[in-house]
């Protein structure tokens, strides 16, 4: 459109110019020749149609002359420029040689230069590869090592974003775990803060997939932390309630049998005695049974400061504490996190409290002293103490917690420096606060695609979802999500022709509401990326997923290549040298979108679009961005 307007402008200008020159020449020639001028005017009036016809003919000739210049030379030159830009991302790209001969020669020259540049780059790349291979071997060893560890291992940066994890960690933490995602969304931040304070202790908590034992080890130089995870063993043996019931029943039985022995007539005495002995043996065995405590152990000298910090964090309370020398060495059986949560809930209204720890015959006696009557213990606190096998009660202005404890065996500290961890991807360790200012390469994206029963978001349904994570320009092919969904209705033939899915193929697959929680977890903490995302988002919004902003490769294609006509995903993929595999499968398209975007990043940078904010603002200006479904 822009080209056509410019062409019409140039034509008008040409006509005005020629008309002006002819007019001026006539004006000068006819100076002082009034009779001739009048004659000419008369002639012009009489032959006006002929003059108009000649003028029109002239305009046509002028248009024919200007047309190749504007719509041929200039447009072809611009298209050549944009095609040449693709060479920056894909050196294998062949420039289409169109337009005038001179332009074709220029194209050939650009192509040759690009080939020479690519050859040079290949040389440099080979050298870099050599160096990388060495590093890769080390990485491979580390990967194999952590991949086969029976524990879950997660490495995170100081902001809690995942840098590295092993399959066991994924098994324990579920779909929500992924490179670049925040651990604070999966685990309670207070728990992580407590665990980091006590790196040698194991904390028990409820993970997304069940109970977990967790240990957090800070890395040197505050460069992040390592999380070690294990499924908390389901307490073997009896649970406490069953054990109590058993003891109750057995007590009754034993008392009855003992009584019968006392009261039985002489002839029944041997029988009653045998019954009493059996009941006695059974009682001895039941007495020895213990419900396993559901708590880890923590040193007394670590526990009190930890509780103090938790109360400060949760309530802004600054409790003083005293700890008897003997109590410092005690290994206290408790879940410090559950205990601090329980204390925080109990002390909500408190303004002042003093914690006092003393050793007492197999226990740590933790007294909370108030300047007023002690508050009612919160159920969370009761539960935490109960689980640890302890008890609690109030005595006037004191709340007393009795926690089982034993003297800690003193082990000599291992010689040498503390063990070090290797870090895989350091880019994540520096992420700016503001997403807006984040460089495109530092962001974690989810490239996704949907297949649907049709094109109307109000009427049609989602039948397939595919997604892949992308860290900057690195496609994380091991972090993919794919689900087929039973729409519960027939799929129109026109749609089946596109994606190849029929209702018969999808019957028995989960319904959309069953797969959405896992899909949401996969999207969490990431930036959405899609090709023609407005369409997919219209479907997702309908099911309650709206997670702006969205980076759209269709808009980016219009931004980067305004003069190229075809911006379909497969055409972009071809241009960038991305293999077109699994077109019109949700995961195939999501992967292709991710790969295309990865190659667009350097071109966006060339245009000065380095941050997410800059890219989104540039996209907003495109007319296509206003399109709504």
């Amino acid at each position: 459109m822009r080209e056509v307007l410019r062409f019409l402008g140039a034509l008008l200008l040409g006509l005005l110019l020629v008309g002006g020159v002819v007019g001026l020449a006539l004006f000068l020639l006819l100076q002082g020749e009034e009779a001739l001028a009048r004659e000419l005017l008369r002639l012009a009036r009489e032959k006006a149609p002929l003059l108009l016809f000649v003028g029109f003919l002239f305009a046509l000739v002028l248009a024919a002359l200007l047309h190749p210049l504007f719509l041929g030379y200039l447009a072809a030159t611009r298209a050549l420029g944009q095609e040449a830009e693709i060479l920056l991302a894909n050196p294998e790209h062949r420039l289409p040689l169109r337009g005038p001969l001179e332009l074709q020669a220029l194209g050939r020259l650009v192509q040759r230069l690009a080939e020479e540049k690519a050859a040079l780059e290949k040389e440099v790349e080979a050298k870099v590869e050599e160096a990388k291979a060495l590093l890769e071997r080390e990485r491979g060893i580390l990967s194999a090592l952590i991949g086969h560890l029976p524990q879950g291992v997660v490495l995170a940066n100081p902001r809690g974003q995942v840098v590295l994890y092993n399959p066991k960690a994924q098994e324990l933490l579920g779909e929500g775990l992924g490179i670049g995602k925040s651990l604070f969304g999966l685990l309670e931040p207070g728990l992580l803060a407590s665990a980091l304070k006590l790196p040698q202790e194991r904390f028990l908590t409820q993970g997304p997939k069940g109970p977990l034992a967790l240990q957090a080890v800070p890395l040197q130089g505050e460069s992040g932390f390592l999380l070690l995870l294990e499924a908390a063993r389901e307490a073997g043996g009896l649970d406490e309630a069953t054990l109590h019931r058993l003891r109750d029943k057995l007590s009754g039985l034993k008392a009855l049998v003992e009584l019968l022995e006392k009261e039985a007539p002489q002839e029944l005495l041997p029988l009653a005695r045998a019954a009493r002995e059996a009941a006695g043996e059974l009682a001895d065995q039941v007495r020895a049974l213990e419900a396993p405590p559901r708590a880890a152990e923590v040193l007394g000298e670590d526990l009190l400061p930890l509780l103090g910090e938790a109360l400060e964090r949760e309530l802004g309370l600054h409790p003083g504490f005293t700890l008897e020398e003997k109590a410092r060495e005690l290994l206290v059986r408790t879940d410090p996190h559950a205990l601090s949560q329980g204390l925080a809930a109990t002390l909500k209204e408190a303004e002042e409290v003093l914690l006092e720890g003393k050793a007492q015959e197999g226990f740590l006696r933790l007294s909370l002293l108030f300047p007023h009557p002690a508050p009612e213990p919160h159920p969370l606190l009761r539960e935490a103490v109960e689980k640890a096998g302890g008890s609690l009660w109030r005595e006037g202005s004191r709340l007393i917690l009795l926690l089982p404890a034993r003297e800690a065996p003193r082990l000599p500290a291992p010689p040498g420096p503390p063990p070090r961890a290797e870090v895989f991807d350091l880019r994540l360790l520096q992420v700016p606060e503001e997403l807006e200012e984040a460089p495109l390469e530092g962001l974690l994206y989810t490239a996704f695609d949907l297949e649907t029963t049709g094109l109307d978001p109000q009427e049609d349904a989602i039948i397939a979802l595919g997604a892949v994570h992308l860290l900057g320009s690195r496609v994380l092919r091991h972090e993919v999500y794919e689900a087929l969904v039973d729409p519960g209705r027939p799929i129109p033939k026109a749609s089946t022709e596109i994606h190849g899915l029929t209702w018969e193929m999808l019957k028995g697959k989960p319904r959309l509401e069953e797969v959405l929680p896992a899909f949401r977890a996969f999207l969490a903490d990431t930036l959405l990326l899609a090709h023609n995302g407005a369409f997919d988002m219209a479907f997702l919004r309908k099911v309650g997923i709206d997670q702006p902003p969205l980076v759209d490769t269709l808009l980016l294609a219009h931004l980067l290549f305004p003069d190229l006509k075809d911006h379909r995903l497969e055409r972009l993929a071809e241009r960038f040298g991305v293999p077109v595999l699994g077109r019109h499968t949700a995961l195939g398209d999501a992967l292709m979108t991710a790969e295309v975007y990865a190659r667009m990043i350097p071109l966006l940078k060339e245009r000065g679009l380095r941050t997410l904010g800059q890219v989104l603002r540039a996209c907003e200006k495109l007319p296509l961005a206003r399109l709504r479904y």
């Binding site: 007590s251 009855l256 003992e258 226990f363 302890g390």
Partner: protein
Amino acid sequence: MDDEESILVPLEFLLKKAGHEVALARTGEEAWRLLEGGRFDLLILDLMLPDLDGFALLERLPQGQRPKVLVLTARGREADRAKALALGAEAFMAKPFGIGELLAQVERLLEGA
């Protein structure tokens, strides 16, 4: 006081035979009503009751004219013993118990009453 019938039956028989007057309660609330209605020398108290927890009942007992308390419980943990004694119980026995041992404990407590 106990919610386990098989314990109440032999205990009642045994204590009555030993010459004591016995009142039975199967829930915490029932026990509380009995305690409010009359004077008792000894309370044999189970900790886990369907309504009012034995510890709560112990806390409710008035400090002055209160009966002596023997806690008889399947919660035999040391932490429970310490708590029961701290809340004013005179004795603590874990289930399962021997009736001889129990009677001896009852007599000892009543001697000092």
